[in-house]
Symmetry: C2
Subunit: 221 residues, 2 copies
Amino acid sequence: MRSRDEAVAATKVDLHEVAPGLEEYLARAAYVQLTIFENLGRVIATAPSTAAKTALGHAAELSIAKHRAIIAELARLGVDPAAAMEPYTDEVDEFERVTRGADWYENVLTCYLSAGFLDEFYAALATGVDDDAARRTADLLRGESGEALLQEQLAAGIDESSRLASRLALWGRRLVGDIMLVARDSLHLHQDEREEARIEPVFTELIASHTRRMDALALSA
Amino acid sequence: MRSRDEAVAATKVDLHEVAPGLEEYLARAAYVQLTIFENLGRVIATAPSTAAKTALGHAAELSIAKHRAIIAELARLGVDPAAAMEPYTDEVDEFERVTRGADWYENVLTCYLSAGFLDEFYAALATGVDDDAARRTADLLRGESGEALLQEQLAAGIDESSRLASRLALWGRRLVGDIMLVARDSLHLHQDEREEARIEPVFTELIASHTRRMDALALSA
């Protein structure tokens, strides 16, 4: 099995042609991160226990810090961050809407799977943008995350209920499609077969990570 | 007019008899801050513009950092933070429930007024707890806040609609009662007239600050 870094290195050259420009890259990554944060805020507000609230509070702190750091990169470019994000909000808001779960655990799974996948996606995409600000963003996205905290909450629920496990397995399988779609929105594709071949290894690696996240909860992906 | 520091100094001795112990103080301050953060999360998720989301994201980052720092003080005492907060969650959750606004601006006003009042209240109460952890918490609560960011959002809305201004003035007047009640829940009162006299200057000062917050929006308190 290849390590994540080797996989990113292998796809390094390929992503140049399909990556957005720096401003679009930062704007999309920032707004996606804001949505991840908002989803965490919702699961904190509706958490069934004070312990869950506090654990997820840490995850939310890490996520909002990432959003704010990417916003700072946009400001450093001399652009207004809100105006820069504006063109991409509809797509991401739609993603948020369709990935809303039916209950608290489904919403925690949405946070867990989408943050894991999209942080890794934008970190990989940075290699195609090829700019210091994008590289700093990639380092940030590969840094400390709330993944383990979210996983703990989910594992505790799954331990108590096998019905929850099968429901979450279904929800996770549905989510991955929507997550891949919002990731692909960031790619400048021209319905070109060569391009499709080029991005395939990136998604293969991202899906492998997704499967590992599901496996960590003993859910079949 | 006395400065805030003078007012806190003047009430320093008085609060000893009514202040909770250190663990209760930290637990209540931490859970109240978590509620302030959750309310900010809600207004971010429902914000009418990307600019508002980003501005309020900064306020949320400051608030969750305060919650996490107080939680760290509890952990330093060797207690489980979630278990320490548990006895006080019902009162604070009820406060959250009754201070839910009818629309986005009312909810932003709830964030603005309750964070302003309660951060100042717990900073003042620390003088009665008389412990380094409480003093660090007071410094933290007096530190950078999202108040100006919230004020800007409200001012922009009020500028556009005089009807909104009168509705928010009413809402602000209603809120102050509920905010004072949740603050008083942290005091160990014994229906003693001397105690009431003792805490009066604290609340006089807090209400003066509340009035300043309303005045800053040209709303009559």
